[in-house]
C-alpha cells in the first residue's frame, strides 16, 4: 500500500502501533489518516477516539481500513468520527486511493 501511494506522489508516514500512530498524527498533521483496527497495544477504535477528542487533531479525516467488518464495528467506527470504513479484502489499492482522493478534494 505504501509503495503504491509513494509511486503516485503522496508523502507517507507509517506507524506500527496505536500509541506511536497517535503521536505521529499529532506531530506530522497528515491530510488524511488510514487506520487499521487490530493493532498491537491500543486498538484502532481507541486511536480514533483519542485523535478526535484532541482539538489539534480532531479535524483530520480518518479512513478505517480493516478486515473486521461486522455491522457493529462499522457503525462504531463511523460514530466515533471516521469518514469511511473500508474492509481491506473488499477493495483494491487503487479503489482505496480513489476514496482517499475523494476525501482530499
Amino acid at each position: 500500500m505504501n509503495k503504491k501511494l509513494l509511486s503516485m506522489g503522496y508523502d507517507v508516514v507509517a506507524a506500527a502501533d496505536g500509541e506511536s500512530g497517535l503521536t505521529m498524527i499529532k506531530e506530522s498533521r497528515p491530510d488524511v489518516v488510514l487506520l487499521d483496527l487490530i493493532l498491537p497495544g491500543i486498538n484502532g477504535f481507541e486511536v480514533l477516539e483519542r485523535a478526535k477528542k484532541d482539538p489539534e487533531t480532531a479535524n483530520i479525516p480518518v479512513i478505517i481500513l480493516s478486515n473486521l467488518g461486522q455491522s457493529e464495528d462499522i457503525e462504531k467506527g463511523l460514530k466515533l468520527g471516521a469518514k469511511d470504513f473500508l474492509v481491506k479484502a473488499h477493495f483494491t489499492p487503487q479503489e482505496i486511493i480513489n476514496k482517499l482522493k475523494a476525501i482530499l478534494d
Binding site: 455491522s71 464495528d73 483494491t92
Partner: protein, 387 residues
C-alpha cells in the same frame, strides 16, 4: 297440651341431637378442608423450594411473602433480610439499577407488566424477568416475579460471536494481502507482463476473490443460525435500494452483454421497514444470479408493483432456468443446480439461502417460476405498515 309436652321434649332433644351431629359434621369437614389446605401448601412449598428459577411472591402491598432459594444467590441476601420487606428495598443499589428499571414504574410506584425481559445485575448476572399478576375474582391478590438465569447462555453467545468475527478477520488478512499484491502486479505496477503470465495471475486473482466472497457468505450464515441476522431496520424506499444495486452491477451486465430493463411505477411504492444493507444484498444476489445464468446477449427485466398490503419485486431472466427435479432444493444451503455447475464452477450455493433468510426475517415471502431452458422469474414481497 299434655300431649304436646312429650312431643316438644322429644323434638327438643332430637333437635339438639341433630344440631350436635350437624356441628360434628361441620367440624369434621372443616378439619378435612384444613388438612387438605395444609397438604396443598406443603406441596406448593416443596415445589418452590426446589425451583431452579428465582421466584418472588408479593402481596398486594408489594411486600415479599415467599421466595425460592435462587433468590438468595441472585440478590446475595438471607431469607430473613428479604421476606416481609418491600420489593423496592430489595432492588436498592447500583447493581440492581437495570433490574429496577425493568420491573418498577417509579412514577406510580407500581410493578410493571413484564414478559421475559433481560436485565443484568452488575456484571455478574444476566437475568430474564417476567411478572404474573394473580387475581381472584377481579381483585389483585398478589404478584409473582420470576427471574430466569441466562448468564451462561449470554456468555456462550458472546464467545461464539467473537470467535466468528475474529476468524473472519484472520482469514481475510492473508487473502487481502494476496488480493493487493496480485492486483498491483496485474496492473503493471511491477513491470510489464506477458499474456500467459497475465492469464495465470488473473485466474489466481479470481479464485482469491471467490474465497473472500465465501467468507462473507459464511459469516452471514453464521449470523442467520444465531438468529442475529438483521442489524437495523428503518423505513425506506425499495426503489432506492434497487437503483443502488443496479448501478453497482453495471460491470457484470456489460461484460456479458446482458440488457437490463427496470420497470419502476410512476407513483412511489409505500415505504417499507427494512434493513437497507440486507435487502440490498438480497436484490444483488437475485440480479447476480440472473446475470450469471443467462447466456451472452440475454436480458433481465426488473419490476416493482404495489399490491394491497405488500410491495412485490420481480426479476425475470432469459437464462438456463431451473429443472423441475431441482426446484424443491433451490433455497437450501450449498445447493447448486446441476445445469449451472456445468456452466460455471464458481458459486458457493449460499446466495439464495441467505436471500431467503433475509426476506423471511423481514416477514416477506420469496418464490419463483421457472422451466429448464426457458429462464427463471424470482419474486419477493415485503409487507408495508397500514396507515
Amino acid at each position: 297440651m299434655y300431649e304436646e309436652k312429650p312431643n316438644f321434649k322429644e323434638t327438643k332433644e332430637e333437635a339438639l341431637r341433630r344440631v350436635r351431629v350437624a356441628l360434628l359434621n361441620i367440624l369434621e369437614d372443616t378439619d378435612e378442608a384444613r388438612k387438605e389446605a395444609v397438604n396443598e401448601r406443603n406441596k406448593t412449598m416443596a415445589i418452590v423450594e426446589n425451583l431452579t428459577d428465582g421466584i418472588l411472591l408479593l402481596n398486594s402491598r408489594s411486600e415479599i411473602e415467599i421466595i425460592s432459594p435462587p433468590i438468595i444467590d441472585f440478590f446475595r441476601k438471607d431469607k430473613e433480610a428479604v421476606v416481609g420487606k418491600n420489593i423496592i428495598e430489595l432492588l436498592n443499589g447500583e447493581e440492581f439499577k437495570t433490574l429496577k428499571e425493568a420491573l418498577i414504574d417509579d412514577k406510580n410506584k407500581k410493578i410493571k407488566i413484564v414478559y421475559r425481559q433481560e436485565a443484568s445485575v452488575g456484571k455478574r448476572l444476566d437475568l430474564e424477568v417476567s411478572t404474573v399478576f394473580l387475581k381472584e375474582e377481579m381483585k389483585e391478590k398478589g404478584i409473582l416475579i420470576i427471574f430466569h438465569d441466562v448468564t451462561r447462555d449470554k456468555l456462550v453467545e458472546r464467545m461464539k460471536s467473537e470467535f466468528v468475527s475474529i476468524s473472519a478477520h484472520q482469514l481475510r488478512t492473508p487473502l487481502s494481502a494476496i488480493k493487493w499484491t496480485l492486483r498491483m502486479v496485474l496492473d503493471g505496477d511491477t513491470g510489464k507482463l506477458n499474456a500467459e503470465q497475465k492469464d495465470l495471475l488473473e485466474k489466481t486473482y479470481t479464485s482469491n476473490e471467490r474465497m473472500i466472497g465465501l467468507i462473507n457468505d459464511l459469516l452471514d450464515v453464521s449470523r442467520i443460525e444465531e438468529g442475529r441476522f438483521l442489524y437495523k431496520q428503518e423505513m425506506g424506499q425499495l426503489e432506492d435500494v434497487i437503483k443502488a444495486v443496479v448501478e453497482s452491477s453495471q460491470e457484470l451486465l456489460k461484460m456479458k452483454k446482458i440488457s437490463l430493463i427496470v420497470d419502476i411505477p410512476k407513483e412511489k411504492t409505500p415505504k417499507v421497514n427494512i434493513d437497507k444493507e440486507k435487502i440490498g444484498l438480497a436484490v444483488q444476489n437475485l440480479l447476480e444470479n440472473a446475470a450469471k445464468y443467462t447466456p451472452e446477449g440475454g436480458s433481465v427485466h426488473i419490476s416493482l408493483e404495489k399490491l394491497e398490503t405488500e410491495v412485490v419485486f420481480k426479476i425475470k431472466d432469459t437464462g438456463v432456468g431451473i429443472p423441475d427435479s431441482q426446484q424443491e432444493r433451490i433455497f437450501t444451503k450449498f445447493f447448486r443446480g446441476d445445469n449451472v455447475i456445468r456452466i460455471e464452477t464458481e458459486g458457493s450455493g449460499l446466495g439464495l439461502y441467505i436471500t431467503r433468510n433475509i426476506i423471511d426475517a423481514h416477514r416477506g415471502k420469496i418464490w419463483f417460476e421457472s422451466k429448464e431452458g426457458k429462464g427463471a422469474t424470482f419474486y419477493f414481497s415485503l409487507p408495508f405498515p397500514k396507515h
